[in-house]
């Protein structure tokens, strides 16, 4: 069975989706099915991660060899992403049982689990596929289920948030499709490795430039890179808590991985970063994203919106690292992908606990709750310090890697933006702390509110402890990130 691991990685969650719909009358069973999907995906990811050291694994779908059929490729550059997505999925699954039960009505809860399975399938498929058009298909699966999940938020704004994401997301996906079309027209193939081979003969081909531009602009929408980030705050802010926990930690990260995959192993670093100014543009946008995202986060009144804006800034850090196109930069980007996923997952999870308790996550409502909900707020503070980048948190480790990569490359303006953004992060995390501990609780706060469910607190703290561990001992994520950078920058093909 081990030969089938790359396929099983995607197929088990895929099969769980129809099962969820079939078993919709038994809500707990549908939850169990999703948990099973997440656990099996974690098991596959771990097994795969231990196997890629000997070289990339290829799986030929339908038994057709690579350029004729579709192949799955697992290598050093995507195992970290598989691990991140799977771990977050397991945590989100544990977290979801009570959270979804509280925020979504009973009849729709099974549909939430179905959609979560579908999103997981889409993200995993997007990560392992070695075919550009297949990547588009998985991109659409994950997007379409995401739209449905966001629309299930409790407030009516969730509907518009979902619709706007649908429109801009579809335009983005269609841009990717146009890019794929141009690349296909000048090479005649869709397989990533085959494309990379054939592109080397096409120096100065303008259709190829357009392919790069359209694929990257389309992916930038999914990554929420600065000018195309507009959908993200409302989408994450309005989605049900379990969903925003999962999406914030996993979805943009996978899009970033796909960007890396296209940039380094399909189009090639020479074309993307030397011939075309993608690196420079990426650094500029990243710097803007850091400043705008952090600044906007300071002015939010809702904790979930604040966290979402902070994500825009944090994506800026990741993009900055990757845009350097050096081993240190890419490794820093990957490290921050891992660390930020863990941190943001924990933070959105904590925000969900507040929603469960208070019915909202507005900062004004948090007044004086620090002592009432010590576990929740301790989690927020610990991971919040990670966002700022205070040593010895995980955020510090990846920010340090990023800063040294930027120093090596001499990208001073970006460095300034990183520092400014960190200061602003201090401000917005400070606002949460100030509201929770240094304000008086409203007099009419009922004393006997329901306690936060153990499963949710445990899920959040699992991520918190993971982030603390990664801060103290960065060898595991650091090793994965270095291996990924080596795999991406190494031979160029997979």
């Amino acid at each position: 069975m081990t030969a089938h691991l790359p396929a099983l990685q995607v197929l088990v969650p895929l099969g769980c989706a129809p099962l969820c719909l079939l078993l919709r009358r038994f809500r707990t069973v549908t939850w169990l099915v999703f948990l099973l999907a997440a656990l099996s995906s974690l098991a596959c990811a771990v097994l795969l991660a231990t196997r890629v050291d000997d070289g990339p694994l290829h799986y030929e779908m339908g038994g057709w060899p690579a350029p004729y059929g579709i192949e799955f490729v697992v290598a050093g550059f995507n195992t970290p992403v598989l691990l991140v997505v799977s771990v977050v999925a397991v945590v989100a699954a544990v977290y979801a049982r009570r959270s979804v039960g509280d925020e979504v009505d009973d009849r729709r809860a099974p549909l939430v689990y179905t959609c979560l399975c579908l999103t997981l399938t889409g993200l995993l498929g997007l990560t392992v596929t070695g075919d550009v058009f297949n990547a588009f298909v998985f991109l659409e699966i994950s997007s379409l289920s995401t739209y449905a999940l966001i629309a299930m938020g409790r407030r009516r704004r969730a509907l518009l948030a979902s619709f706007r994401y649908l429109v801009i997301g579809t335009v983005g996906a269609t841009f990717v499709l146009i890019g794929i079309g141009f690349a296909y027209a000048v090479t005649g193939t869709l397989n990533m490795a085959d494309l990379a081979d054939r592109l080397t003969d096409l120096d100065g081909n303008r259709a190829l430039y357009a392919a790069v531009v359209f694929v990257f602009v389309g992916l930038a929408v999914k990554m929420a890179v600065f000018p195309l980030h507009a959908w993200l705050p409302a989408a994450y802010g309005e989605a049900p808590s379990a969903v925003s926990t999962f999406l914030a930690a996993a979805s943009t990260k996978v899009a970033i991985y796909v960007f890396c995959r296209f940039a380094f192993t399909v189009f090639g670093a020479g074309l993307v970063f030397t011939t075309m100014p993608v690196g420079e543009v990426g650094l500029l946008l990243a710097a803007l994203a850091m400043l705008v995202g952090s600044a906007a986060a300071c002015f939010q009144r809702d904790l979930k919106y604040l966290l979402a804006w902070s994500s825009v800034a944090q994506i800026g850090y990741i993009v900055a690292g990757i845009s350097l196109a050096t081993a240190a930069g890419v490794s820093a980007g990957y490290l921050h992908v891992i660390n930020h996923a863990v941190i943001k997952g924990a933070l959105f999870g904590a925000a969900g606990l507040l929603v469960l308790r208070l019915g909202s996550a507005r900062l004004d409502d948090l007044a004086g709750l620090g002592r009432r909900m010590p576990w929740t707020f301790a989690a927020i503070v610990v991971t919040g310090l990670g966002l700022v980048g205070v040593p010895p948190t995980a955020g510090f480790a990846s920010k340090w890697a990023l800063v040294s990569a930027l120093l090596d490359a001499g990208a001073w303006p970006v460095l300034v933006a990183v520092l400014a953004s960190s200061l602003l992060a201090l401000v917005y995390v400070g606002r949460i702390v100030e509201a929770a501990w240094f304000r008086d609780p409203p007099a009419d706060l009922p004393a006997d509110q329901p306690r936060a469910p153990v499963s949710m607190v445990a899920a959040v703290w699992a991520l918190v402890l993971l982030s603390v561990y990664f801060g103290i001992d960065a060898s595991l994520p650091g090793g994965l990130a270095d291996a990924a950078a080596a795999a991406l920058l190494g031979t160029g093909g997979a």
Partner: protein, 329 residues
């Protein structure tokens, strides 16, 4: 200027003119109707460009399902658009000009239209799909063999997208409500049209038969599981429109539909899993029989049926969800 070029230019001009008119019309019902016309022209162009399978799908989806859904959505919302204010026009125009400029600039290095010497045609894929497939799979319609076998995973993904859409619409518009009898009188005047009812009743068996034909003839001509599923759904839609939703839902009960949606997907997946158990890789139909070509035939047939089941069930469910929303309002 060959005959082909002339026809091609005429159709493209018609298409662009229609698109312009659709974009300018503020009456949305009319815009939706013209977008049906737009789909018809598109489908003609697909025929002209030798993409008969795509033309088949575009006709069934664009003219049939999309139009019905669009009209159904319009019936539940306002049908007239507000004037687009000036300040909104600029960003759209800027993006369009920028993107269009990039495309035109890049198109200079695209291979000439219709060239037999383009990278696409020179790639070994061409020979494999057109000629080698005749030996490996033995189905004349190479689109079907590429769709269901060489790129079977894409098709599974496509089915998953359809499934996702069904789940999403169910989640958004709620489980099918029981139709309310007290419907607005003027909504259902079609019941008065005796001619329409008689003709539709006559057509029904023919439509379902045609759908089955399309499903099983997909190996030799245009058609296949997806198209068949859409035609089935179009048949149910027609029935629901003419005879009322209540009757349509008696014919195809909700429970059945909801069971069929996951069933098709599981069948597709099941075929792949059986291949794995028999020692091949996922969707390697060769393993289904001692003769690889026979295995491929069987696999493709099963997979196409699976697609047909899920697609028909999803499309019908989606239509009922929209239509019921209206009845219960």
């Amino acid at each position: 200027m060959t005959v082909f070029t002339l026809i091609n230019i005429s159709l493209l001009a018609i298409l662009v003119a229609t698109a312009l008119t659709v974009s300018r019309l503020r009456a949305l019902y009319e815009a939706a109707m013209l977008s049906a016309l737009f789909s018809l022209v598109t489908a003609c162009l697909f025929v002209l460009l030798d993409a008969v399978d795509v033309a088949f799908t575009e006709a069934a989806v664009g003219v049939g399902i999309s139009t019905v859904l669009l009209l159904g959505g319009l019936a539940l919302t306002r049908s007239r658009e507000a004037v687009t204010p000036r300040r909104r026009r600029l960003p759209g125009a800027a993006v369009a000009i920028l993107a269009g400029g990039t495309l035109v600039y890049a198109s200079q290095d695209l291979p000439a239209f219709g060239s037999a010497d383009s990278p696409v045609q020179r790639h070994p894929l061409t020979d494999t799909y057109l000629h080698q497939s005749q030996e490996d799979i033995g189905i004349p319609n190479t689109v079907t063999s590429v769709l269901a076998s060489y790129r079977g995973l894409d098709t599974l993904g496509e089915l998953l997208v359809v499934f996702t859409a069904g789940v999403a619409v169910l989640a958004l518009l709620g489980p099918l409500a029981h139709p309310v009898d007290a419907r607005r009188r003027d909504d259902l005047d079609l019941v008065d049209y005796r001619v329409l009812r008689v003709i539709s009743a006559m057509l029904m068996p023919f439509i379902l038969l045609f759908a089955l034909y399309v499903l099983f003839h997909g190996d030799f001509g245009p058609g296949g599981g997806f198209q068949a599923g859409v035609i089935f759904a179009a048949g149910f839609v027609l029935y629901g429109l003419v005879f009322g939703l209540d009757k349509a839902q008696q014919v195809v009960p909700r429970v059945v539909l909801w069971a069929l949606i996951p069933f098709g997907l599981l069948l597709y997946l099941g075929v792949g899993v059986v291949n794995m158990l028999l020692g091949g890789s996922f969707l390697d139909y060769d393993t289904l029989s001692s003769d690889p070509a026979a295995g491929q035939h069987l696999g493709i047939l099963l997979v196409e049926s699976a697609i047909g089941i899920t697609v028909a069930a999803v499309m019908t469910t989606v239509f009922f969800s929209f239509a019921n929303r209206r009845a219960t309002r």
